[in-house]
Symmetry: C2
Subunit: 431 residues, 2 copies
Amino acid sequence: MTVLTNSLTEVAQQTRQAAIQLAGASTETKNQALEAVAQALEAATPEILEANVQDCQQAKAAGIANALYARLKLDATKLKGAIAGVRSVATLEDPVGTVQLKRELDTDLVLSRVSCPLGVLGVIFEARPDAVMQIAALAMKSGNGVLLKGGQEALHSCQALVKAIHQGLSNTAVSPNVVALLTSREETLELLNLDQDVNLIIPRGSNDFVRFVQENTRIPVLGHAEGICHLYVDQAAKLDQAVEIAVDSKIQYPAACNAVETILVHDAIAPQYLPKLTAALQDNHVKVLGDAKTQAIVDVGPATETDWATEYGDLIVSIKVVASLSDAIAHINQYGSGHTDAIATEDDQAAAVFMNQVDAAGVFHNCSTRFADGFRYGFGAEVGISTQRMPPRGPVGLEGLVTYKYQLKGQGQIVATYAGSDARPFTHKDL
Amino acid sequence: MTVLTNSLTEVAQQTRQAAIQLAGASTETKNQALEAVAQALEAATPEILEANVQDCQQAKAAGIANALYARLKLDATKLKGAIAGVRSVATLEDPVGTVQLKRELDTDLVLSRVSCPLGVLGVIFEARPDAVMQIAALAMKSGNGVLLKGGQEALHSCQALVKAIHQGLSNTAVSPNVVALLTSREETLELLNLDQDVNLIIPRGSNDFVRFVQENTRIPVLGHAEGICHLYVDQAAKLDQAVEIAVDSKIQYPAACNAVETILVHDAIAPQYLPKLTAALQDNHVKVLGDAKTQAIVDVGPATETDWATEYGDLIVSIKVVASLSDAIAHINQYGSGHTDAIATEDDQAAAVFMNQVDAAGVFHNCSTRFADGFRYGFGAEVGISTQRMPPRGPVGLEGLVTYKYQLKGQGQIVATYAGSDARPFTHKDL
């Protein structure tokens, strides 16, 4: 592969050139390319599985952890699923070319704002070979080039996959150069410095890794480090429902970023609610920690200041008794990560204040925090979840991989006509 | 003012608290606050003008340049105009609370995406006291708190203005703490480090200053350094029209970021076009530089590699003869700053390729680059022009000061219901 012989900057520029062509490709062209990639992956299945066996053997010999091994392993079923995923991306709506605004500034002077690709994405992911296929498909559908850097353990698998993708694209109108694979750890750091040629970095991995990326690049980063989500159980909550929501938010998938870490309970209902809550959580093997007021009501371990700022990612939860809605909001805005926070209450006014004042990408009323997810939101594909303030925020679908440009079409108009004492007025008529 | 006694972090947190309240304010409440501010500014006019006289005298004694002095000077007419500006912001559409998406995920489980304020803005501007009023008004209307840092030369003016703004707000439902003034140079640097409390930095000043800010903060920056705009005159251009567009793009306001710096000319029409163009430009006192091919046709000075990357901001222009549309696009994508680039042509196919492949916030066909402006686009107020790839991009109105959050309202739904072998399907019905 050229990747191994060229400098990363050259690779990135090559990808950018290919992406400029792809930016103008029709939906049909892009979907044909995705189908060709799917077929090439099917044809290369034996090679890909063999490469993965090699990776798995090496990883086992190096003593890889079981969870990582499970992600690295690519069997025929998993590969088939990933190829189906490539085809499903073809069915998603094309995010490019949407006219977001169309306005006549004056006769025959028409402004349009049209969505367009970002350019080149840099995606850094762990040893999950299936991510190569998913990411390449999303990048192509959104008209972007992509530089992929997978975990070292998956090197042979990634190489075999990208080889098949290139093979598939070679017979289409889309240049194989839109997808490039980086293979060395040094290239990861170099990638973070390519401000000129890379327009968005998507890191997939541990919180520490995402934070490292955020702190070491000037390129916009799509992703999130912590997911410290809260459930506030208001004095006007239906207690049994609030138990169900709390349990689901914690145990349905405790390692997920949208799982709840701290439950805030209004002191007026704490004596009734906390025994029910802790019993239900403990029945589900959740370790419960609480502040002093919680401990005065139920028999749980102590929660300290550190707990409020901790994403357990595990069957552990901290509980704090609060005196009011505003105390709950203040706690969340201080310790939360802006991911997803929920209120359980039958008081619509309290819910409205909570949803207004809690500063998070997702503010939920009477439902589980676990709903914060691109698929559940109906986005078709999830590129990532962003906890940054600026858009795109929250679960991000394909629209997170595009931007827009203003197109202005005239017939020779100049600004001098619209300036000075005799200025011609603009019509500013939305079309 | 509290600003002088508290640490900047404390001020920022106070501003954030006030902004959280403001975020939920109705349009009416915000407009009433703007009117109260306008009235307070009117009432404080003598004090404000006196403070400005003091600033002007000190600046003159220190030998301030004429252009800067003109910006610093705030007479009764200019102040009146700025107060009218505050009132006109009240008439703009409220960017907060727009429902961007509303979708039923299942019965009684409804997702909405609603625009909301960013939080706290940090705005650093030169010695233009009128900016204080404009920025404070835009921040309030968009529901944001704002930390203002003006040039040292305008210190007394800014203090008098912010005092009046606080006075005006003190009788309204909006806390005076939504607007804070920073007064020392050290605070500018400190401001750039307030990732936790400031959500957007808007630098207004020289290209060097904007670049400094971009390179020295992790907070998102709204603005642009260079504006290197191009006009490409295609072989199918109407030559006289292309001369008019070129002249307007250069001379209508040469210091503006959307003025053209380089004109690319297709070689097929260069012999006819260049003499007309250079004559028209020289008639308007523009210094014309050209590459070797240009110099072979018209008598102009040499343009070197450096010229292609230079924003003159003055009555100077560089010309390059290119062999094709794709050479023109390649030149623009290499040397442009992604601001605004135009093509003059009667060939719609060429125009479409240009507008597709040129990577800029604005791509124009048969009109002056000088149209790239929030007011001309009909945005009412321009917060800034962004040359970054991610939205907001190009001229940014009030919508650049808001983000969005997802609100999910349920009746006790949990994710377990929608998972596993017996999963209930989502309805995903747009409402």
